[in-house]
């Protein structure tokens, strides 16, 4: 996928490039799939508000005085664009970690507690794949798509937390072992029930941004991705208790 970036200030370019997913390469290309333009004030004057503006193709995406907000917006839009249009990887809106070689995928929309669980797994010593988008290749193998975790704060805001803060290692590509279909509910305890592979596929498709655009590809990849995975569904309570139960369960696998 070819992404173009143009800026009015060269210094901003470095900041933008730091938000592009790892593994990108510089290309000489006459056309791009999406062009981002960032306009920042060239001259700063007293008593005047200075805005930075981000465009995605011809659409204004963000107008803000804080360059960090603009960078966040850029990263989020870029991730979504890649997720919706990639033809060699399938992106699932999911958090993903690895516990002693067992890969855990937690699909879900915003506010379902995905990041909370991912962070708790990392605190417990899991390796990190991704917080927001899980990347799966055509053989069903999961790959790291490491981004800072967007942890919600008590004041309803968000805080970026680099995975390094948890001392988490980057996970190696591997098949999916366990899919957790779960949401937080007060006073509940993690007590999962089995769910059929077909119904799990529905839940995963629901969280696949490219599913509308390339359904046959999405279904084919998801089918391979879950063919050897266990799928557990249920409400969860507190993150510590849930993660402990899941890692105990996986440790049981390792013993047998």
């Amino acid at each position: 996928m070819r992404i173009g970036i143009r800026v009015t200030d060269r210094l901003v370019l470095e900041s933008l490039l730091s938000r592009v997913p790892v593994g990108w390469t510089r290309l000489q290309a006459s056309g791009v799939d999406r062009l981002y333009s960032v306009v920042t004030p060239l001259v700063r004057r007293r008593n005047v508000r200075h805005f930075c503006v981000l465009y995605g193709d011809h659409t204004r995406l963000s107008r803000t005085e804080r360059i960090e907000d603009l960078l966040d917006h850029f990263e989020s839009d870029l991730d979504l664009h890649i997720a919706a249009n990639s033809q060699d990887r399938l992106f699932i809106h999911a958090g993903a970690v690895s516990w002693k070689g067992h890969t855990i995928v937690i699909p879900g929309r915003s506010h379902t507690g995905k990041t909370t669980l991912v962070a708790e797994f990392l605190k417990s010593g899991a390796a990190y794949y991704s917080d927001d988008f899980a990347a799966v290749d055509h053989t069903g193998c999961l790959h790291p798509y490491p981004r800072d975790l967007l942890v919600r704060t008590e004041s309803n805001g968000s805080r970026r937390v680099p995975p390094e803060e948890f001392r988490a290692a980057r996970a190696q590509p591997g098949p999916i072992s366990l899919v957790l279909l779960t949401e937080y509910a007060e006073d509940r305890r993690w007590s999962p029930s089995p769910v059929s592979r077909g119904q799990a596929m529905l839940r995963l498709l629901e969280n696949t941004p490219s599913a509308r655009k390339q359904p046959a590809f999405a279904i084919g990849v998801l089918q391979k991705a879950v063919e050897s995975a266990e799928i557990h569904q249920g409400w969860r309570g507190e993150k510590e208790q849930t993660v402990q139960q899941v890692v105990n369960y996986l440790d049981g696998w390792s013993l047998t």
Binding site: H73, S76, S110, G198, E206, P215, A216
Partner: protein, 165 residues
């Protein structure tokens, strides 16, 4: 709806698969409708019924197809199940000369046949949302737009997520 009326409907109706993306997953069948961006998952018996409608099939012919595996299945139950699959947009439903209208199908449903008989077909479905809705919501003070909505309790004011009220 009386049994005679059901039998009459059953004999005059034909069902045929709609063109959908279909993948077998174990006993289940995953179907994707590109027109409506809806995915469906049929259980084993639903999958067998759908498969039996590759050409135009009647409830009787589908019943014959199912009997080796489900010997006790009755034609009326098959007809009700096929109607349910048609109502979900997975089969085309026709008589010999006319396309069944939605109103007629509604009438059949209101008359209570499908409600009175426990149908074996299970059709969980999901509407696949547009790609933009997969974006994580934005927290307080974060930049927002139509494709980057704010989290609940916040609204997008001047492209920044701010508390409601």
């Amino acid at each position: 709806m009386s049994k005679q009326e059901v039998q009459h409907e059953s004999r005059s109706t034909r069902f045929q698969q709609r063109k959908l993306i279909a993948r077998t997953i174990g006993d289940e069948l995953l179907l994707f409708d590109e027109e409506t961006s809806t995915a469906h998952c049929l259980n084993g018996i639903g999958a067998a019924m759908w498969a039996a409608c590759e050409g135009k099939g009647s409830a009787a012919s589908v019943t014959d197809f199912l009997r080796p595996r489900w010997p006790d299945i009755e034609e009326e139950v098959v007809w009700g199940s096929l109607s349910k699959l048609a109502a979900a947009g997975l089969l085309e439903e026709t008589t010999d000369h006319e396309i069944i209208s939605t109103a007629r199908r509604e009438l059949i449903r209101k008359l209570g046949f499908t409600a009175a008989v426990a149908l074996p077909v299970v059709i969980p479905s999901v509407l696949i949302p547009p790609a933009a809705s997969a974006a994580s919501c934005r927290g307080l003070g974060f930049a927002c737009s139509d494709i980057h909505p704010c989290c609940s309790g916040l609204h997008c004011l001047l492209l920044v997520c701010q508390p409601i009220g």
